[in-house]
Symmetry: C2
Subunit: 366 residues, 2 copies
């Protein structure tokens, strides 16, 4: 039943919230309405998304005091300065503590809007309407909000939960091919870390997913969000197990930082990072070579990159990874794989093996 809406609850005590997944949710006013605290609603979106979906969303909020903030599009604008534009727009309209922000866009819009909501007048409500596959399966679940600094990605932020998330599959129709593939990287990640059956399902349904089949996408989003919600519910502030969600991210963030935010998409960097994590896991004797090969094969089939740029040398990689949030007092924490469907956190990685892995650029299965 591809047209039926699914509801998934993220269980976080008094911060619990529903994720609605379905087709055409953007215009269903009864979904948003119960989550507002007052008539003041500010939609935060960007120049790419606004012409596509802003009017549609506004029309379902027509009886409220709605303003829109339209930001420039791209990871390089995920800064405090851009968040400042949201604050000032809210202040100019006298928006109070009971106002609600709505993030309409991808992960960058979600992260900045969430951070603005966490910090405007020390906290107002917000709602996520992610319009990319990556945001629907990743950044809209778990309450991580924030911005980048020149010295590191996502280094400033807050844990702050939305009132609800609307994952409208209809918005994926306009998603660029490259963005769709980048989202699939995170979908594959959930299979890799904790759900071998789902991983097999992705292998078998990759063509449907790439052709944007509504039913396949809904299933992928539902399972991905459920996997993430389960882990987040057990460790909201990433004091332990939640870190496994960062599979591929330590390598990936280094690639994003080294290449300048925005030239690689986040999902692309994570895709390569997962192949690198698989390579390292194999070199450590933790993962079978055959499984590492299967991972590289699926990520290749999804049209995603599997090796970092040649010009990032090993010292640069090590330095950038040492700045990652997962690093504790100089020790880099790696998320490694024991098998497809089983990730683990490992703080003690042999530096020589790590260097070999970085030099090899994950060429094991070529």
């Amino acid at each position: 039943m591809p047209d039926q809406m699914e509801t998934l609850t993220v269980n976080l005590g008094d911060r619990s919230y529903p994720i609605y997944i379905g087709h055409g949710l953007l215009t269903q006013r009864e979904l948003i309405r119960p989550h507002l605290k007052s008539r003041q609603v500010c939609i935060v979106t960007n120049e790419t998304i606004a012409p596509l979906y802003l009017d549609r969303l506004k029309s379902s909020l027509s009886d409220l005091q709605v303003q829109a903030v339209i930001l420039p599009d791209g990871e390089k604008y995920k800064t405090l300065e851009t968040v400042g534009m949201i604050y000032d727009s809210l202040l100019a309209q006298n928006f109070s503590r009971s106002s609600t922000l709505i993030a309409l866009g991808g992960g960058v819009i979600g992260d900045m809007t969430g951070f603005a909501a966490a910090t405007y007048q020390r906290g107002v409500n917000y709602i996520q309407i992610p319009t990319t596959l990556l945001a629907q399966v990743d950044s809209s679940v778990g309450g991580k909000t924030g911005v980048n600094r020149p010295l590191g990605k996502n280094m400033v932020g807050a844990f702050y939960q939305p009132q609800c998330v609307l994952a409208d599959i209809a918005t994926l129709d306009t998603l660029a091919e490259r963005e769709l593939k980048a989202g699939l990287a995170e979908v594959i990640k959930y299979g890799l870390i904790n759900n071998a059956d789902f991983y097999t399902w992705i292998e078998q349904n990759l063509a449907l997913l790439l052709s944007r089949d509504g039913g396949a996408l809904k299933h992928a989003i539902l399972v991905s969000c459920a996997e993430k919600a389960k882990i987040v519910a057990s460790d909201e502030r990433e004091e332990g197990i939640r870190a496994i969600l960062n599979l591929g991210h330590t390598f990936g963030h280094a690639i994003e930082t080294a290449t300048g935010y925005g030239s690689w998409l986040h999902g692309e960097a994570v895709a390569t990072g997962m192949v690198m994590a698989a390579d390292l896991s194999w070199r450590l004797g933790m993962l079978k070579k055959e499984e590492a090969g299967k991972i590289k094969k699926l990520i290749t089939a999804a049209g995603l990159p599997v090796a970092p740029p040649n010009d990032i040398d090993v010292p640069t990689f090590l330095n950038l990874m040492g700045k990652d949030k997962k690093a504790e007092q100089g020790k880099i924490k790696f998320i490694l794989l024991e098998a497809i469907g089983r990730a683990r956190i490992e703080a003690n990685v042999d530096l020589d093996l790590l260097s070999s892995s970085l030099r090899a650029g994950s060429d094991l299965a070529q």
Copy 2:
């Protein structure tokens, strides 16, 4: 026993923390040590305080990885850009999630350091060492952190509690006269809102306080912090009663915004704001004229201003007050006085009476 340290606990469940009040606490390493999570400690201070107290504090942390960030001094630097300097310094030194920030300075340093701690890597520990009377009795208790925007003061921030507060009375020896008086404004506030006996004590001990008598200051700080802690414990996120701590602040913030941050000290603006709140309370038939007069008299005796600048006209005042965080959907919430020692929150104030009060500039007792 003026030399004995007092310890007061702010009760906030798993976010409870102690306030240590005494003479010479800065160099007592055993106070700070139990509150650190790792060897990484970053002291945030300013150009005025650093030459006076930074080395002293550093010497008590000598076996740790200590760095200092020295910011420019003044309310006009309480911005996201300045907080960005803290983030970048932490990142440049690879400071991890287990590092601790120490705020060494007045309220501006405390607010910015607390906000940096709340948001660096989505939250690290911090310790407050307030070096002004105002910070010792006000901003170090209650977890309000944040920065200003051009359109409003403290409009961006987070509720975030420190691990502990060290109120070292010795640091008040170097405090400018004008700053000491500004701090007394907040001390008087605690008497006004909730403790008539303490108000009488202040009237009787004003000369001792102005001459920086250690025993009198310690008592004033202890009672002030206890009053604030009691209210904060019952309403951490200011959803109700906590707003009474804002007596004088709605008027005061308008004065600070209209005059540009920094030309009036916060305590001075609050002092005038309290006189204006008393005037309005009297005009509303809520407070006896005689008591309003007594308030104006004490604030005058403390060397604090009792009237706003002549050039802020009534429409400007109303507009600026409408932007205050206490405003809900255009309604300005006032903290008014029923008596000395009894404040209450009032959302329905007659606009004509308010305008008369603003025009009069609190001339009732002249």
